[in-house]
Amino acid sequence: MTIATDPPKESFRLSMLINDTRYRSYTFQAIALLALIVIFSILGNNLAQNLAAAGLNISYEFLGDPAGYDINQQPIPYDSQSTHMRASIVGALNTLIVAFLACVTATIFGVIAGVLRLSNNWIISKLMSLYVEAFRNVPVLIWIIIIFTVTANVFPQPREFRGDNPTASMVGEAVAFTNRGVYVPKPVFESGGWLVVGVFLASIAGIFLWRRYARNVLFDTGRVVPVFLPSLAIFFVPALVAYFVLGRPIGLEYPELRGFNFQGGLTIRGSLIALWFALAIYTGAFIAENVRAGILAISKGQTEAAAALGLRSGRIMNLVILPQALRVIIPPLISQYLNITKNSSLAIAVGYMDLTGTLGGITLNQTGRAIESVLLLMLFYLTFSLAISALMNVYNNSIKLKER
């Protein structure tokens, strides 16, 4: 009779650090850590030597000094006496503005192109393929510059709007396309204006509540509560009522030709337009591919099964295809948004004053604080990207297929 016994306990020997797979990983990690420390200390040492030789130091005090340069698009008040810090904040806001605009527009372009590329219409699907391939395969920098050139050379000059017999005219007396930018009416809030906006936002929340209510009623009692028309009513009625009850507190300020240029209204500069549309069209081509892939990923059996259950085609789309396709589409969509944000740093090529143009451009050149500026620049983009990625992970986990 044999008795299973534990093997004799081996005592730890030094050679096991190399030969025993249980301990070898510690050796490797120690080596890696050591190598890392050595590399960093060499780099740090070089840095210290070079800085000392150049008579520099690492300091962020320059952020408090007056910047001394102008920024042509100011979402918050700024003048040339403001600090570098404020210039950077203005730049960061400009980055976010163009990124937001481009994300929204790119999504619209991408969804339209992606859906139309799957259309039965031969001409339309070929046109959309042409769009996707043409824009995907040419660098975005070239597109930005081309569109910038268009706005600067094809649009009329402001003086062509003048005189009794102008060669150019404003669209609907409200929007003027000039080579200095596009002038659009600007909303002016008088007292109570924000209340209207608040009511409007509340009514959007109301739409969601109504939808949830309709869904609950449907699930509990089987009674179908209409959704579309009440939503439409909730969307328009309270805001319009508030608008007129409060005495039209939101007006529009139209751009007007005064002297050599347009005054008033909101100016969208050519650089913003170039960056916005180039990013939107370029990324839209990628999003179109994602959307197409997402829709194609849903097998035809799903549609047929839904049809066999007696669902109408609109409901098949809403209840069966879209929820599944979105699961495929959304993750790459978010990473396209991140790409837009990162590509918006190309603003520097057309002189749009985003963070790269202010902190990484003029501030860096004026103060010579290369290391600090580039570090802050990277930190901003990194924080933004990581925050979005974190949100995306939360979302991905929430829509993940729930399996056992």
């Binding site: 070089n46 219409n121 050379n153 740093s345 580039v374």
Partner: protein
């Protein structure tokens, strides 16, 4: 009863009616158009809209090309000839194509060198891209980097040859020592290469001008050639680094894993342009005071870091897509980590991730235009700088940008078509 029957059946057909052709609306082009272009009011509107868009595109572009002007010296002569008929000034491309392709400082007598290097690139890449070509061609792929360096940068042939000798020595040392263990082989290879370089260094010093081509400094590289150099060098360098990073990120050793994670996430979180700023103004601070790396090398370092992080993520996807059983099967055969990775895991993971790698490569190639922002004269930099600001050609936008777009489109579209072809070919059927 039989009466009525006899009367009703007056005629019985004995032969089959020959099949009639379908009605004209249901066959051929008409049917196709009905189904594909005019199947409903919405589709009809879309079709008409599409035709209108095509019409306006053609009417916009056709006169531009057809009335194009060739063979004049500057934009004024060109404008005189076109007289506002919408013709293009293709003369600018005719006059400046060398600058657009090679930059404005590359000696014009040496243009054959980068051209030859470009042509040979196809020979070198072919066995990697097309697996049915003879494997012996891979030898040329191995030689190519050194040959290309020699052709483009010039100088004595001894430098690339000794560099290659070092790699060859390392390879043989690895083959010899590999059966002890992977790590011993690796260290042996590195040692052999270093020793070879040290020894042959004396030979290079002794004969600095043997078989030398005229030397061209890095700062004289420009035009589309610079984009090609940056693209190919950085992609090929970042492949091994990306594989190492991906393996590191999958590793069970926490320290190594976290080093890789931090590196990858950091690089992927920042725009390439900030990394180019680093190359331009910061990187020099981190090297010993006496060294002076030229800008192109610093840019190559940063772009390689950039693309290796993206390639690492693609390969990690490939690793994750491998069934768990493959890892376990390799373990149960008694293979150690290096063997399992090299023989079982990597071949499959790389096969899965080839389309992704190609996408990264295309994206990277397009991104090489960003170097124009840090005042390097690549294709975009050439157009924006020397050409558009010259008195002869200031104002010729469309022709130049169209030229640049077409160059990039041809390369990128070609690569992506290859990737799609490969994807179809690699699809093993069971899905």
């Amino acid at each position: 009863m039989s009466d009525t029957h006899a009367q009703t059946v007056a005629f019985v057909r004995h032969t089959e009616i020959p099949p009639a052709p379908p009605p004209p609306g249901q066959a051929g082009a008409v049917k196709w158009m009905r189904e594909n272009l005019f199947s409903g009011w919405f589709n009809t509107i879309m079709t008409l809209l599409g035709i209108y868009i095509i019409y306006s595109l053609v009417m916009g572009i056709f006169p531009w090309i057809a009335n194009g002007v060739w063979g004049v010296d500057n934009i004024r002569e060109c404008r005189e000839i076109t007289q506002g008929n919408g013709g293009a000034c293709f003369a600018v491309i005719e006059q400046r194509w060398q600058q657009l392709l090679f930059g404005f400082e590359y000696p014009s007598t040496e243009y054959w060198r980068p051209t030859l290097a470009f042509v040979l690139l196809f020979v070198a890449v072919a066995p990697v891209l097309f697996l049915n070509l003879p494997r012996a061609m891979l030898v040329f792929t191995g030689i190519y980097p050194f040959l290309a360096y020699f052709l483009i940068w010039g100088g004595t042939i001894l430098i690339p040859i000794t560099a290659m000798l070092g790699f060859v020595a390392g390879y043989f040392a690895f083959k010899q020592l590999e059966r002890n263990s992977f790590a011993v082989g690796l260290f042996g290879a590195v040692a052999a290469a270093l020793i070879t370089w040290w020894v042959t260094g004396f030979i290079v010093d002794a004969a600095p001008n043997l078989l030398a081509l005229p030397e061209v400094a890095s700062r004289n590289m420009g035009g589309f050639m610079l984009n090609m150099i940056l693209g190919t060098v950085c992609v090929s360098l970042s492949l091994p680094i990306g594989i190492a990073l991906a393996l590191g990120r999958q590793s069970h050793m926490p320290i190594i894993k976290w080093i890789c994670v931090v590196f990858i996430e950091f690089i992927r979180g920042v725009p390439l342009i900030t990394l180019l700023f680093v190359a331009n103004v910061v990187l020099a601070y981190f090297f010993p005071p006496e060294t002076s790396l030229d800008l192109i090398l610093r840019v190559i370092i940063m772009i390689t870091m950039f693309s290796s992080a993206y390639i690492a993520e693609v390969i990690r996807g490939g690793l994750a897509a491998l069934p768990r059983g493959q890892y376990e099967a390799a373990d149960s055969l008694g293979l150690d980590y290096a063997q399992a990775t090299r023989l079982i895991i990597m071949p499959q993971a790389l096969k899965i991730s080839i389309p992704g790698i190609v996408n990264v490569a295309v994206g990277l190639f397009k991104d090489t235009t960003l170097v124009s922002v840090i005042s390097m004269f690549d294709l975009v930099g050439m157009i924006r700088g020397p050409i558009l600001s010259s008195t002869d050609w200031a104002g010729v936008y469309w022709e130049l940008w169209a030229f640049a777009s077409v160059l990039f489109f041809v390369v990128c579209y070609g690569i992506s078509q290859y990737s799609q072809w490969l994807e179809r070919k690699l699809q093993t059927g069971h899905r």
